[in-house]
Amino acid sequence: MMYEPKIVAYACTYCSYPGADLAGTSRIKYSPNVNIIRVLCSGRVSPELILRTFREGADGVLVLGCHFGDCHFINGNHRTAKRIPVLQRVLEFSGIEPERLRLEWVSASEGERFAQIVDEFTETVRELAPMRQVLA
Amino acid sequence: MEYRNVLTTCPYCGTGCGLYLQVLDGKVVGTLPVKGHPISEGALCIKGWNAHSFIHHPDRLTSPLIREQGRFREASWDKAYDLIADKFSSLKEEFGPDSLAVLSSAKCTNEENYLLQKFTRAVLGTNNVDHCARL
């Protein structure tokens, strides 16, 4: 199914957003389908927020946080690490492909890695139907 | 310390779902559905679940109020009825019975609604009577 998927990435202020910024300043090309939203910590990304994002038309949601031990808020990313897999199972049981939601740890120096994740994820979501068809 | 459930019927629509009012120490604190009820089958709609909320609500009127110079003041039932009868009579005199209208409510009982329409038609002399559910 060929279409341009809309990806929303929630990136945390202290690690993954600077990582994304580094990809930009290094002029690394990555998929333009992504809309990056900066949040204070990946632990702030609640299931309600992700579900609303899907509801508003996102075909895929990326949640990016700090590696364990690096979180500015000590254990915010621990919450994310538990919450996202559970939400993926909930989506799977309800009939929404869990591949639409992905959690990755990106540090402030991993610009290259950020670009790679976005590209891979865009391709994964491109294989799936647009969200508006699923929710219709 | 006293807790009991009082069986009643939901006042809101014509379905007539069974409802338990939860009474704790003399105050109504919530509602419960009636399991095994032939009509509501143990479920309630959103109005039924909140049917208790107006009972002890601070905004609830507890005495008649008469507006004077743009402000409401409390009045006795007698004074209120005198004013109503006065005004209805004078308006009916001056503008005819069809200048009056009566609006009833789905929360009233069938008997109350019957009385009200009888009053409107026989006493006030007009057919202008309707019901909030038709709005």
Partner: protein, 262 residues
Amino acid sequence: MNRLEALRDLIEEALDEVDGVVGLRSSSGYVAPHLFREREELHQLAVSPKYALPTTLRLIQTAHPEAKLGIVCRGCEERGLIEMAKRNQINLDHIAVIGLACTAEEAEECRCAKPYPSVLVDSHVGERVEPVADKLAEELRQKGVPERLDFWLSQFNKCIKCYGCRNACPQCFCPECTLEEELWVERGRVPPPFPSFHLIRAMHTVGKCVGCRECELSCPAHIPLTTLYTLIRQEVGEMFGYEPGVALEDEPPLVLPMEVES
């Protein structure tokens, strides 16, 4: 002696020690939760249909924190009490728990994984029966993702947004409920848009749902909510080794930081 008579005897005994016992009372042909304070009221005692008695207990205890109370508890209600106690919603210190085992028919209807209490009980009535598997959950596990979507969409499209599932749930106690926030659940739309309402609720039951089925029983549209929550509960059990309602010392996984080797 049947369950009802045995229960009546136990409650009579309990009334010597406690100020009141929360149980079911039959009156005017219908059954409702009740706080029995005097022996004379016990002729109206009933055992079914089941209600979420822990919710009633919490209501009374919040108004009278010092009172010594008793409660008639089925398996699911005991699990509910344990989860409430973990979250400081109820104080189990002054509570006498009188266990009531469900019959085979009741266990079958509820697809119950453990139709009898065993952890908190001070005394017990009724014979323990075998747990029953949730057939619908097993069927759904076999289906692929698009078929599951069809199934759940057809179910959730019946929803009239009565909030009965949330109101009836013994574990739902938040004074400000996420499901009432306009930011997450659009106002004025019935059925509420998929996936918001129901999947938010499903996520919020993680670590809390004990499978008491009150949500399903109070759903006017007969949506098999407990099946969805059971599937999630089984997954969470595998992922974190955590089962709600089993032991007071178990801590819910989602609120804890992980143990990470540094």
